[in-house]
Symmetry: C2
Subunit: 199 residues, 2 copies
DNA sequence: GTCTATAAATCGATAGAC
DNA sequence: GTCTATCGATTTATAGAC
C-alpha cells in the first residue's frame, strides 16, 4: 500500500526539521566552515545523500538557521513592548525570557548568530541579511524602551546606544559563557539589569 | 656577499612575527577551520610555501596564537593584584587595561580565545591547554580580588563565581560587539563595574 | 524517500629548483 | 631564504540503484 501524498508531506516536514536541529548542534560546535555535511547527517541519523535531498547546499542550511535566529530575537523585543508595566518591567520581562532561552538549547542559536556576525566565512545571502539592517535591529528596537525608562527615571541617563551595547554585550557574553561552561552559575534578570538601572 | 648568521636570524624572527600577525587577522575573520594557509600567506605577502618553512602546520600557528592570548590575559590579572589601592581600584585598573586592549587589535585575540573555547574544530594541543585549568584560570584568579572587595564592602555580596562570570561575560561580549561594529560606543570601566559594585 | 558509488574541486603539506 | 609544482587526503555535490 503506497503512502498518501499527505503522509509524504509529513515525512518531508519531519526530515527537514530533523536536519535543521542536527545542523544547529553541529554548526554551533564546529562552526560553519568546519561542519561537514556528513557530520550533520550522522547527527540526524541519515545518510549524507539525504541531506542534499532536502537542502541545496550547506550554505542553505546555515542561512535557514540564521534567519530563524534573527526572527526569534526580534520577536522577543516586540512582545516585550506589548507587556504591561513600566519600561524597566518590560525590560525585566524580556531579560527573563532571554536568560531562560540561553539556559536551554537557545544558546546554540546565539552562537550561530555570532558566527554570522563575526565570521567572513559565511554565505553571501547571510551577509546580506546582516547588512540589510536586520543586524543592529535588536539594538535599534530596544532604544525606545531604554529612552522611555530614562524619562521615567528608572534607567541611568547616558547615551541610549551605549547602554544598549552594554546590555546586549552582556547577554551575548552570557550565552557564550553558558556554552563554554555548561554548569556556570547564571545571574538573574535583576543582576543583568544593573548595567542599565539608575542608582 | 652572503648574509651573516645574525642577519639570517633577524630575518627568521621577522618572518615568524609577520606570519603570526597575518594569521591572527585571518583566523579571527574566518575561523580556524575556514582559514586557508594561502590566506595567511597572502595577508603576510608571502608564498604559501614559506609559511610551511616557519611553521609545521596550520594547527601550530593557531596553537601559538592561543598560547599568547592566554598568557596575556593571565598577566593582566597578576599585574592588577600588584597595583596599589583597594580591591575595587585594582579591578578598575584591570578593566581599563582590558577595555583599552579591546579597542585596538586586542579584540582579535579575544575572538581567537573564544573560538578555542567554543569550537570542537581545534587542534588537540589547544584543547589540552583549555582542559589543563588554564581555561577558567581567569575566573579563578579574579576570585580573591572579588572576595576582598566584598569584605571591604565595595562589591555586592553574592556568589563570587557568579559575579566573575557576570564580569567576564560582559568583557567578552564587549570584545565581540567591538568586532561586529567597529565604531560602537564603548562604555568606560565604571560602567562595566556596575555589575560588581555594591549599591 | 533513502542509500551507495562516484565525480569534481579544494586545500594542507612536501619536494625540489633558484 | 623563498618560490613553484605537485601529491594526497578530504569533502561537497551529483547520479543512479533500490
Amino acid at each position: 500500500m503506497p503512502r498518501t501524498e499527505e503522509q509524504n508531506q509529513q515525512i518531508r516536514d519531519e526530515r527537514q526539521e530533523q536536519i535543521l536541529q542536527a545542523a544547529l548542534k553541529v554548526f554551533a560546535r564546529r562552526g560553519m566552515a568546519a561542519a561537514k555535511i556528513s557530520d550533520i547527517a550522522a547527527e540526524a541519523g541519515f545518510s549524507h545523500g539525504l541531506v542534499y535531498h532536502y537542502f541545496k547546499s550547506k550554505e542553505e542550511i546555515f542561512s535557514t538557521l540564521v534567519k530563524k535566529a534573527l526572527q526569534g530575537s526580534t520577536l522577543v523585543i516586540q512582545y516585550a513592548q506589548q507587556q504591561e508595566g513600566s519600561p524597566l518591567q518590560q525590560l525585566r520581562w524580556m531579560t527573563n525570557m532571554i536568560l531562560q532561552n540561553i539556559s536551554g538549547e537557545g544558546a546554540y542559536l546565539f552562537l550561530i548568530m555570532m558566527q554570522a556576525f563575526t565570521s567572513d566565512a559565511i554565505p553571501e545571502e547571510v551577509k546580506q541579511m546582516m547588512d540589510d539592517g536586520l543586524a543592529f535591529s535588536a539594538i535599534k528596537a530596544t532604544l525606545p524602551l531604554i529612552q522611555a525608562g530614562q524619562q521615567a527615571g528608572e534607567i541611568m541617563p547616558d547615551d541610549p546606544v551605549k547602554l544598549a551595547v552594554l546590555y546586549y554585550s552582556l547577554i551575548q557574553g552570557l550565552a557564550i559563557s553558558k556554552i563554554q561552561w555548561k554548569d556556570c552559575p547564571m545571574p538573574d534578570a535583576d543582576m543583568v539589569l544593573r548595567v542599565l538601572k539608575a542608582k
